[in-house]
């Protein structure tokens, strides 16, 4: 007799077997969560994949209670947020703090922080942003003690993140930066193989030559924005530094008006003329992902999020996307970090400072799960906390083909730096960033509205005004 088939092709025996197993899992699931959370501080695990790091827990060093309200961005890798919220709430349950979390679009975070601080009664105790928050220094808690405690537990913080959270002029940690995101070049291997560069470009000269040839032969352009948005700001700073130019020197003096800056602009004009279209003047935060995954860009400067999106969406192009480290220019080979996490605690009476600090220590304790659940998007500022990171990059647990594709990120701290390089990320640098003075400088020259020298002089006058303003407030040297 032919066994009776149940929907989706199960036999009755299989149906009962799997159904029973599912019921058992459902019955055990919540109990396991509660047990681990209460007994061992284990937050809910979401991937269930082999090698997934466990959540660890240390008793807070200070007495904490009440509510902890956190405002942070909606992560570019959605899996992170699915994990983060239960993780934070589980910690709260364990230490007797009610944790409330609000995620908003990253573009809205600056306005939200500004509004809450201006109100004098912030509704959140802890804010996170993906860019430096140095302009808030006068209104936030000094994180020096927290950084010292974290370093005593987890080793020395990366210089990159320290310089993105510490003001050497006032000797204050205006933010806590426990994690960051590298910004490699993402290229389409099949396109670059055709021009004799199967490993992608390694220098700006190769980018120009190979990119131009791809554009003329295959009709696929490069994607380096010259628009008033975050990715253009990041990419063009990397170009400037690699050409030996910078906005400020190590002491915070404006040095943008240099032959090196003019050289970088002239290079970009060449790149635009030969390998890009007017699309780069309309660049927005989604352009990298959209163009790379649609197959209309040969190279972009971005984190791995565009690639992860291609993987998640099952796009064929995912297997064709590979990564390069920072391109070498005449002077060096560095780029800005793609994301620099800054956590700040407003310095107001109503704010639960102790709970916020303890949560940040717990977060730092668990930087390995943070990296894992962001699918290796987030990198630790305390590398000792994620000893498996290089193994994961050698053999991507999230299905890269080949699995070694992310190896190039292993030494990303060697070619990543902070905005403001070679100086610190101070409020003046932040305002120059916010007003997109650098992308406009490049675009004015590329569109032929100004000569490179005029564009630099125009940018210099704006930057000088901003630096003088912040210098007058005593926040930069």
């Amino acid at each position: 007799m032919v066994p009776r088939r149940y929907p989706r092709g199960f036999t009755r025996r299989e149906f009962l077997y799997f159904g029973g197993a599912a019921l058992l899992a459902a019955a055990c699931g919540p109990a396991a969560d509660v047990t681990t959370t209460l007994a061992g501080g284990q937050g809910p695990s979401t991937t269930g994949m082999p090698g997934e790091p466990q959540i660890s827990f240390r008793e807070p060093t200070q007495s904490i209670s009440g509510e902890l309200n956190i405002l942070l961005w909606s992560h570019f890798v959605p899996a992170h947020d699915s994990w983060f919220d239960p993780f934070a709430k589980a910690w709260g349950e364990q230490v007797g703090v009610t944790v409330n979390i609000d995620h908003i679009n990253t573009a809205e975070v600056p306005a939200a922080i500004a509004a809450e601080i201006q109100s004098g009664q912030p509704q959140h105790d802890l804010f996170q942003h993906i860019a430096v928050l140095s302009q808030h220094e006068p209104s936030v808690v000094d994180m020096t003690d927290l950084v010292m405690e974290a370093e005593s537990r987890y080793g020395t913080m990366l210089d990159l993140t320290r310089r993105s959270s510490y003001n050497p002029h006032t000797e204050k940690y205006y933010a806590y930066a426990p994690a960051w995101v590298p910004d490699p070049g993402d290229y389409r291997k099949s396109l670059w193989e055709a021009v004799g560069l199967p490993d992608g470009p390694s220098t700006y000269d190769e980018l120009l030559e190979g990119g131009s040839q791809i554009f003329s032969d295959q009709g696929v352009q490069l994607g380096i924005g010259m628009s008033q948005e975050i990715d253009s700001n990041m990419a063009l700073r990397g170009l400037m530094w690699s050409f030996g130019a910078s906005i400020q020197d190590a002491d915070g003096q404006v040095v943008i008006n240099s032959d090196e800056t003019i050289g970088a602009i002239e290079y970009m004009m060449d790149l635009y003329s030969n390998a890009m279209t007017d699309e780069v003047f309309a660049w927005n935060a989604a352009s990298n992902n959209q163009g790379l995954n649609a197959g209309t860009l040969s190279y972009i400067l971005n984190s791995i999020s565009a690639y992860r999106t291609a993987q998640d969406d099952g796009l064929d192009v995912a297997d064709d996307i590979y990564f390069t480290p920072a391109l070498a220019g005449p002077e060096t080979a560095i780029v800005a970090s793609h994301v620099m996490y800054n956590w700040i605690i407003p310095d107001f009476e109503s704010v639960n400072v102790a709970a916020a600090q303890e949560f940040l220590l717990h977060y730092t304790e668990n930087l390995a799960p943070v990296a894992w659940h962001s699918k290796l998007y987030d990198f630790p500022a305390f590398p000792d906390r994620v000893p498996e990171l290089n193994n994961w990059l050698d053999n991507d647990p999230f299905g890269s083909n080949p699995p070694t594709k992310l190896q190039v990120l292993k030494n990303s701290t060697d070619w990543a730096t902070n905005i403001g390089h070679p100086g610190p990320a101070n409020p003046a640098v932040g305002q120059v960033f916010g007003e997109s003075i650098i992308p406009v400088m490049f675009a004015e020259a590329a569109q032929g509205n100004m000569t490179p020298a005029e564009a630099v002089a125009d940018a210099e006058s704006k930057i000088n005004a901003i630096f003088n303003d912040w210098r007058g407030r005593g926040l930069i040297g």
């Binding site: 601080i117 808030h136 628009s227 309309a282 305002q431 997109s436 303003d469 007058g472």
Partner: protein
């Protein structure tokens, strides 16, 4: 002959003065709290060096306003604001008058057409503008696709990447957004024109153009002016369309005062300067408001 003298109300609830105050108070509280207070704050901020990160106020006289004025981006934004408002509303008037003329006629499916015309106005502005962002995309614009299909272009237009096209694009979207409001205002005016005027015109044998230019437009002039002034105020004070489409780019060619106030004050952190930029709109908007009220009163008299 008896004379009626006003009696003092017996109960408070019978007092017209009390009731008037009571019923007006929600509006007054609303305006004071959500318009008056922020506006007063903006004036105060414009004379201070306040930043987003430091709520303390230190008065610096006219320094903040001078710094704003000396900024070349501000001057470009000032010019753009003027042209953006004027050009947008020129097209709004033409479109609105035509639409109103159409919508006051009797034809099958009129209500559906009215609904379609009003749709851009009732749709949330950010959502509607996002749709335009995709429609004007550099690579995947359906407009480009259409133009390519009919052989008018052989490469993409880059609507938001080329300065002149970017300006035309933001103006076009603004017209699309505001025209329905203006059309409704003009339509209401048209419907208020006495029917016997139209009957007399018909008896005299006037055609549609003559009726439009010699009857409707002269009679509607005050109403059209009200629609224009609403449109100008919306174009000058609202930042949604430009913020979503271009963020003021490329090279500040679509930057207007409202967006520059945001970038300067919020994203740049210089809250005082942002407030000063926004305040430059104030004299213009006050003047326009005065004109609106004057025209509205004139209309009442008519």
């Amino acid at each position: 002959m008896t004379t009626q003298t006003a009696k003092k109300p017996r109960y408070l609830a019978d007092s017209p003065r009390f009731l008037a105050g009571l019923f007006m108070s929600p509006t007054i509280i609303y305006i004071v709290a959500l318009v008056g207070f922020p506006f007063a704050l903006a004036i105060i901020y414009a004379f201070t060096d306040i930043t987003t990160g430091d709520p303390s106020l230190e008065f610096v006289g006219l320094d903040t306003i001078k710094a704003v004025w000396n900024d070349t981006v501000f001057r470009r934004a000032l010019g753009n604001t003027f042209w953006f408002a004027v050009i947008s509303n020129l097209f709004v008037v033409i479109l609105a008058t035509g639409l109103a003329e159409l919508l006051t006629r009797d034809f099958k499916g009129k209500w559906f057409v009215r609904f379609l015309v009003l749709l851009p106005w009732v749709a949330p502005v950010s959502l509607a503008t996002l749709t335009w962002l995709w429609t004007l995309d550099s690579v995947f614009s359906p407009i480009d696709w259409l133009l390519r299909q009919v052989g008018l272009i052989d490469q993409n237009m880059y609507w938001l990447g080329r300065p002149s096209l970017a300006f035309i694009s933001v103006v076009a979207v603004q017209v699309w957004r505001i025209a329905p409001l203006a059309a409704v205002i003009v339509m209401a005016g048209m419907m208020a024109i006495p029917k016997d005027v139209h009957d007399a015109v018909e008896v005299d044998g006037a055609g549609p153009w003559r009726r439009l230019f010699e009857i409707n437009i002269p009679l509607l002039a005050p109403i059209i002016a009200v629609a224009v002034l609403f449109g100008v105020i919306l174009s000058m004070a609202d930042m949604s369309v430009i913020y979503v489409l271009t963020r003021g780019g490329p090279t500040h060619r679509t930057q207007v005062l409202s967006t520059w106030a945001y970038f300067k004050g919020i994203e740049g952190g210089a809250l005082g300067q942002g407030a000063a930029v926004a305040l430059f709109l104030f004299p213009v908007l006050v003047g326009l408001t005065a004109v609106i009220l004057r025209l509205a009163r004139r209309r009442e008299v008519l």
